[in-house]
Amino acid sequence: MTTQQTDEPILRVRNLGTGYGDLRVVWDVSFDVWPGRLTVLLGRNGAGKTTTLRAVSGLNKATAGSVELGGRDITKAAAHTRVRQGMAYVQEGKRVFHAQTVEQNLLLGGYTRRLKRTELRQEAERMYELFPVLGDKRSLLAGTMSGGQQQMLAIAQAMMAGPRLLMLDEPSGGLAPVIVNEVMERVGLLKETGIGILLVEQAVEASIAVADHVTVLDMGRVVLASAADDLDNLQDAYFGRTPAQGSASRDS
């Protein structure tokens, strides 16, 4: 497990607070994401994982704290400008453009890159290599594909922007276990391209298998931040055991 903290994180979130209107959902959340590594945000339903991602992406306003991308403060930047600065966010629910073909979805993914059409197509070809299942379906409407294929497309579309940071919100949601493994395998491969990945998941085992760092949220606050191989602490935090209960169970 690589957890050197010496190199600069690509994403630095500090004391983030956010919510919906007057409703505060997330308090004082801090974590980092490093280039070429994967940080996973874990937590129960309603822990504030998606809300945190929405605030980091600019969809929700940060009411406190700061968000830095590559050392640059982007706390007040609009969502679309964060994409230009290298942040890509794949929302939960496989939100691809159903009425557009796979190819058109990918081309639109490169909207911010100011590339020529031929260069964009070359980028799309690169995505077909990363996600072979999409290559055969490039002329199909995205809405006609299976859930797993749509999820791959959503990730590939985000990658078309050439991001430095990729944020994925429950890519396993609603998928069969065998497809979850395939999606996670692809996510793991994306680390090798050198981008930082921030993953929100409920599929704990599958996500920890590809993670380098884990941050656990509960009731909108960070309850644990550690290396992914520190499973004892992780289990305590994720399953809500107190330290005393945790040591008792380990002792027994």
Binding site: L59, A79, V83, R84, R95, F97, Q104, Y111, T112, A161
Partner: protein, 285 residues
Amino acid sequence: MTLIWGGLALGAVYALVAVCYNIVFISSKTFNFAQAQLIMVGAFVAYTGLVTWKLSVPLVMLLAVASVMALAAIEERLAVRPVKDPHNILVTTLGVSILLNGATQLVWGTQPLNVPFFGGNDVLELFGGQIYPVEIALVLVAVVLVWALTRLSRRFLVGLALLGMSEDREAAMLRGVNVRRLAFGAFAFSGAVAGLLGMFVGPKTFAVATLGASLALKGFVVLAIGGFGSMPGTLVGGLVVGLAEALAARYLGGEYANITVFVILITILLVRPAGLFVRVRERTV
């Protein structure tokens, strides 16, 4: 055959109104009730430029496009952008349409004004029927505009971004699309198209302060028949409404023209509630 040509030309007018509605609808998921009034203003500007000021056709075209585009841009800033709830935009744009109706009456009066068509006024024989050059132009403009917009929207990233916005605004934002700027651009563009169309619609319908209201209603019917957001749907909707209106007026009497159109509308909506060219996607949860 003359009847068919007349119906087609009328249908083309309605289709063009619906195309303008669609440009805004696709980008903003909202309905600009003042869109037909913008075409009406375009017709008045064409009259003023061609008849009052006796300017050249290209200059009048430029004037109509620029002035109505500016008007649409102002409308977006004052009556659309500040409104948070899209449903309320229906009310504010309806307000703009009433304002435009009143303003055109103040400026140009209530009498219909004859807008000359730059392509001539000599009646032509075509497939055994008689047709005016402006009617041919209207049909051609409708077909070419729909073809061009459909093609451009799939060929250029901006077009794909607009279609993406129409489907999922938030997802488009996360692909780097500045949705507010693009929606504003589409609104202004729909104004530019409306200004240009005034040059073609005015010679067919006259420039008159009640033009906006009658075009708005039929344009809406065309959109409902073809399906909101569907460009090809506007052509088919326009064809259906134009022909139904012309045939009903000829064979049943003028008072049955509107009734026939609305009977057809209700029948189509009973069978396909989203219109002929829009498929309803089931919501997956």
